[in-house]
Structures are given as structure tokens and as C-alpha cells.
């Protein structure tokens, strides 16, 4: 009898020794992400676009991108101007390179702002509940009920009027409207995320490890940022990725309507906008920036999709 018990104990021990170390969820996610073919394709396209916009700047100067040569207006694509020229004779290849930098920067920075606000509002609202939650969520619902474009147009005017000069960043003269657009997009696109984070917090805060943290005497803020926030990172990461694509499209739409970044600072959006002069007669004016925008957003969507699948334990594809 005692012998049998000892034997059993030994089996347990050996089993315990043989058990492989459990992989962390992050490692699993990374492995799955790189098995996701579309996500990897997205990464490759994104790398190519970054190479084009940042690497291209070493071959073409910004003066050339902003250099208007009226003798060469509306030139169709040729060896001298692979993407053609615009209505004042600026080379579109150079402009898409420098415009791309601004467009991508607008996407990245505005999403950073949106993610910060959305996460904090979601965490606070979900964790504290009650009156704070009601006020914040009613505000979010009210903002969601206003058409985004109208909100953007109305906000855009006072911000752009308040800032009519150029600023210098990394040695480049950049229209302050870039900052205005970043703020506008950042301040209006956090709503959806705050609701996602809030719903996550609502389920998380009922769990035992939060109760344990309370009993150990952790403060509310410590619980929110040390215990709850890390558990919300996956959906935040996914919506940040997809948000970059969204922000680039919004910038393009605003610029296309003439409310975006003001020239001479180029963005993919305002290059497209110049094409409104005669989009049917000079299609190359919108084809190159249009293709670049589509490719960028496409690759971002691929990456976002890959991240979503990688973090989702339900999808066994590529697991």
C-alpha cells in the first residue's frame, strides 16, 4: 500500500519534470503572427513603403519636391518624371516621397493620441463605474452620434485659423496645419476604443486577482495600470494598428475636401486634392498617391488582421 503511494508520487514528480515549460502568450502570438501569410505580406509591403518614403529622401531633395516649374505643367509620366508633374510643374515622384512621410507621421502620432485618451477613458470609466462611468459614456455616445466628418470640419477651422505659420521639425519647414490635423484626428477617434476597453475592464475587475490586489492594499491607480491595463493590451494593439490606416484615410478625405494640410507641405491627401483640377484629363495626378494610400492602408489592415488572429485563441489557423 505504502509502496504503491510512493510509486504514484514518483510518477507525479517525473511527469512534473518532463513537462515542457509553458510558452508565454506573447511568444505564442508572435509565432502565430509570423505564420499568418497575409500579415507577413503586410509587413513586407509596409517595409517597402517605409523604404520608399524615408530612403527616397536621400535621393531627392525637398527643394526639388517643392520646386514649381511652370514650363512643365501637367506632364504625363516619363523618364524624367516617372509619376508625371502637377498643375504647377512639381515632380510627383518627389512629392509622394515627402508627402508619404507626413501622411505616415499623421497616422502614427494621431493614433498615439487617440489610443492614450481612449485607453484612459475606458479604464477609468469601467473601473470606477457609477456617476463617472455614466458621464463619460454618455459623452462618448453623444460624440459617436455626430457624423465624424462634420465634427472634423467644424474643429478644423478654429485650429487652422489659430495657426497660420510654418514650424521646423528635423530641419524641414512644415505647415502648422499638420499639427492641427494630427490633433483633430487624435481627439476625435478615441471613442470606439474607450468602449472596447471599458467592456474589458468590466469583466476583468470582477476576477479574483483583482480582489487579491485589493486585499494586499494596492491603490486604485496601481490596480488600473499595473493589473488591468496589461490584460487589455491585445485589443488596444489591434485597434491601434487598424487606427493608423483609418487616420491616413481620414487625412486624405479631409485634404481631398480642401480642409487638410495646406501646401507647399505635401501629403498624399493634398496631392490627390490637387488632382481635382481635372481628374479625367490628368489621371496620373491621383493614380500614384492613390495607389500608395491604398497599399499602405491595405498592408496595415493585413497586419491588424494578423495581430487579431494571433491574439485570438479561438482561431487555430497557423497556430
Amino acid at each position: 500500500m505504502a509502496n504503491a503511494a510512493a510509486k504514484q508520487a514518483q510518477t507525479v514528480v517525473t511527469l512534473g519534470e518532463r513537462e515542457p515549460e509553458a510558452e508565454s502568450l506573447l511568444k505564442i502570438a508572435v509565432r502565430r503572427f509570423f505564420k499568418h501569410r497575409m500579415a507577413v505580406a503586410g509587413l513586407v509591403i509596409m517595409a517597402a513603403i517605409l523604404l520608399y518614403t524615408i530612403g527616397g529622401a536621400f535621393f531627392v531633395s525637398e527643394e526639388f519636391a517643392n520646386d514649381a516649374d511652370v514650363t512643365q505643367r501637367f506632364e504625363a509620366p516619363s523618364a524624367a518624371h516617372p509619376f508625371g508633374t502637377d498643375e504647377v510643374g512639381r515632380d510627383l515622384l518627389a512629392r509622394t516621397i515627402y508627402g508619404g512621410q507626413i501622411s505616415l507621421a499623421i497616422g502614427l502620432i494621431s493614433v498615439t493620441i487617440a489610443i492614450s485618451i481612449g485607453t484612459v477613458v475606458g479604464l477609468v470609466s469601467g473601473y470606477f463605474g457609477g456617476l463617472v462611468d455614466s458621464i463619460l459614456m454618455r459623452f462618448v455616445e453623444a460624440m459617436l452620434a455626430i457624423p465624424t466628418l462634420i465634427l472634423l470640419l467644424l474643429l478644423q477651422r478654429p485650429l487652422i485659423e489659430a495657426s497660420a505659420t510654418n514650424i521646423v521639425i528635423f530641419g524641414r519647414q512644415i505647415s502648422v496645419t499638420v499639427v492641427a490635423i494630427i490633433l483633430i484626428i487624435g481627439l476625435t477617434s478615441w471613442l470606439g476604443l474607450s468602449r472596447i476597453v471599458r467592456s474589458l475592464v468590466l469583466t476583468l475587475k470582477e476576477q479574483e486577482f483583482i480582489t487579491a490586489a485589493h486585499m494586499l492594499g494596492a491603490s486604485n491607480w496601481r490596480i488600473i495600470f499595473v493589473h488591468i491595463l496589461p490584460n487589455c493590451l491585445a485589443p488596444i494593439l489591434v485597434s491601434a494598428t487598424l487606427g493608423i490606416g483609418g487616420a491616413i484615410v481620414v487625412e486624405t478625405a479631409l485634404s481631398f475636401l480642401g480642409f487638410g494640410v495646406l501646401p507647399p507641405t505635401a501629403t498624399w491627401g493634398n496631392i490627390l486634392q490637387r488632382a481635382r483640377v481635372d481628374p479625367y484629363e490628368y489621371p496620373w495626378m491621383w493614380m500614384a498617391p492613390g495607389a500608395l494610400i491604398t497599399l499602405t492602408v491595405l498592408s496595415i489592415n493585413f497586419i491588424g488582421d494578423g495581430l487579431r488572429d494571433a491574439f485570438d485563441p479561438r482561431s487555430m489557423k497557423g497556430g
Binding site: M38, I146, V249
Partner: protein
């Protein structure tokens, strides 16, 4: 149920008030509606002040909001800007159906709306109907043929369309179906207007003019919705009640043979209806699907607890 509906309506009232205050304040931020008079040499600053006084633009913001909401025919107003109260106002307020007067068009806002609303509705309703039908069809088709060539092609096209700004797609369609078709001498589509100015105002003309705008608007929403329907379908197909029903409807479960088999058409349609209902139910409650049924809470449930801590 009745109590629940009333409760929801009562909850919506403060929300509507907040929305109207936010939008009203934003409109005020947009600037002085009479700023354009500053460039007009015929208008003196006194004229401008008079106009501002007439429309009550010098009142404090809360007063302007109240005027907009419930009108000003119940109080004395200073209409000439001289600091004296002249007469009762003539606005009845939004709550009593008076949307006010458009400064740009010189008509009441209600008139301006009623001229434009039918055209907007024609475009949006057509677009929505096309979107629903095609998205449902494409989504279900792709779900039934999961990971086949057809599904992959549909997925690829959806991703590209979904990544395009809508006006870019519109430019592209115009370039192909209007400009290039005209160059090639093929029948081409009109790019603007609702009717041909030289032709009649027939329904054919309207449809011809609708094709390009509806196609560009619908294509992008179809790309999004069909992905959504495909995902929901895949979820529903694997659920218990379909699994138990499927052998009755289709002998080999949900297979391609079932779509071809005439004898099973009736049951097939019933099965189709269930899945559609499930799709729409999930679609119509975005809040629930993002909170309770989305992938993130499920992720947490599956992992059985905290991820990193």
C-alpha cells in the same frame, strides 16, 4: 416590453440634449456667418451689426441655444442692436418644427432640406439595398466555400476595396467607365447630374446616372459587411442548433451538394433564413457583439484569467 421601450426613450432624451448642445457649440466655433459681408463694399459695419442683432447672434450662447430649441416668440427681443427691446421674436424653435432660416439660401431650413432630401434618399436607399443584398450573398457564399480559391479572391478584393478612400474608388470607376469607355467608343456612363439636360427625366436616365455613385459607395460597404457576415456565418454554422438541424436539411451536413440539390431546396432556404437571422441579430447589436460576444472577452474566458500578471 412596453416599459422597456419607454425606459430606453427616456434615456435617449438627455443624450439628445447633450448632442444638440455639443453640435450647437461646434457650429458657433465655426465662426461668424456674416464674416463674408466684411469683403462686400456695399455693406457697412452698421449693416453687419444690424444683421447680427436681427438673428440674435450677439446674445449669450445659452440664450441662443434656448432660442434655437424653443423659439423666442414668448419674449421681447432687441432686433435692431440699439440696446432696447423692440418686439416679440418670430422663431418657434426646433421643438415646434421651426428649423430656422438659412442665411446662405435665404429660405427656411425646412425648405432647403425638402428640396435636397429626396435626392439624398434615392441615392442612399439604393446604395443600402444594393449593399445588403450583395453583402449577404457574397458573405454567405464565401463562408460556405471557406478557404477555397473563390473565397480567397473575394477576401483579397474586399481587403483592397476596404483600404481605399471612397473618392479614390469613385475616380477610378469614372476613369474606366466614363473616360476610357468614351475614348474607346463604347457606351459610357454619365459622371454628374441626375438627368441628361438634353434628355427626358425618365427613370432610365435616373438609373444610368445612379450607377457610378451607387457602385462606388456600395462597393466599399459591401467589402466591409460581407467580411462581417462571412465571420458570423462561420460562427453560426458551427453552433449546436445548426449542427443538429443540418443533417435534416442536407444529408452530408452543410456541403456544396446541398446547394445543388433541388429536393432539398425548401429546407436549404430555411437553413439560409436561420443563418441570416443570426447574422442580422448579431449585426443589429454592435454593443453586445463588441462587449460580450467579441473576440476579446472570449480570449479572456479561454485563457481562464489574466494574461500577463
Amino acid at each position: 416590453m412596453g416599459k422597456y421601450i419607454i425606459q430606453r426613450i427616456l434615456q435617449a432624451i438627455p443624450l439628445l440634449i447633450i448632442i444638440s448642445i455639443v453640435v450647437f457649440s461646434l457650429m458657433k466655433l465655426a465662426g461668424d456667418p456674416f464674416a463674408y459681408l466684411a469683403q462686400d463694399p456695399r455693406a457697412t459695419p452698421q449693416d453687419r451689426a444690424l444683421m447680427r442683432a436681427k438673428y440674435g447672434l450677439d446674445d449669450p450662447l445659452p440664450v441662443q441655444y434656448i432660442t434655437w430649441l424653443v423659439g423666442d416668440d414668448w419674449r421681447m427681443r432687441d432686433k435692431t442692436g440699439d440696446g432696447e427691446l423692440d418686439s416679440y421674436g418670430d422663431r418657434r424653435g426646433v421643438l415646434r418644427g421651426d428649423l430656422g432660416e438659412s442665411i446662405v439660401y435665404g429660405r427656411t431650413v425646412g425648405e432647403v432640406f425638402s428640396i435636397r432630401l429626396p435626392n439624398t434618399l434615392i441615392l442612399m436607399v439604393t446604395q443600402y439595398v444594393v449593399t445588403i443584398f450583395l453583402a449577404l450573398f457574397i458573405g454567405i457564399f464565401a463562408a460556405l466555400r471557406k478557404y477555397t480559391v473563390a473565397d480567397n479572391i473575394i477576401t483579397g478584393i474586399s481587403f483592397v476595396l476596404f483600404s481605399m478612400p471612397v473618392f479614390l474608388l469613385a475616380l477610378l470607376l469614372v476613369q474606366v467607365f466614363a473616360v476610357q469607355f468614351k475614348h474607346l467608343g463604347l457606351p459610357y456612363l454619365p459622371v454628374s447630374g441626375m438627368y441628361d439636360p438634353r434628355g427626358d427625366r425618365s427613370i432610365d436616365e435616373l438609373v444610368r446616372h445612379l450607377i457610378l455613385p451607387v457602385a462606388s459607395l456600395a462597393a466599399i460597404s459591401i467589402a466591409g459587411y460581407s467580411r462581417y457576415i462571412r465571420a458570423t456565418m462561420l460562427e453560426v454554422i458551427n453552433s449546436d442548433y445548426i449542427r443538429t438541424r443540418a443533417p435534416k436539411a442536407c444529408p452530408n451536413g452543410v456541403s456544396r451538394s446541398c446547394t445543388r440539390s433541388r429536393t432539398h431546396r425548401f429546407r436549404w432556404s430555411r437553413w439560409w433564413r436561420w443563418t441570416c437571422h443570426s447574422c442580422w441579430a448579431a449585426r443589429s447589436s454592435p454593443r453586445r457583439s463588441s462587449a460580450g460576444r467579441g473576440w476579446a472577452p472570449r480570449l479572456l474566458r479561454r485563457c481562464g484569467g489574466p494574461i500577463c500578471s
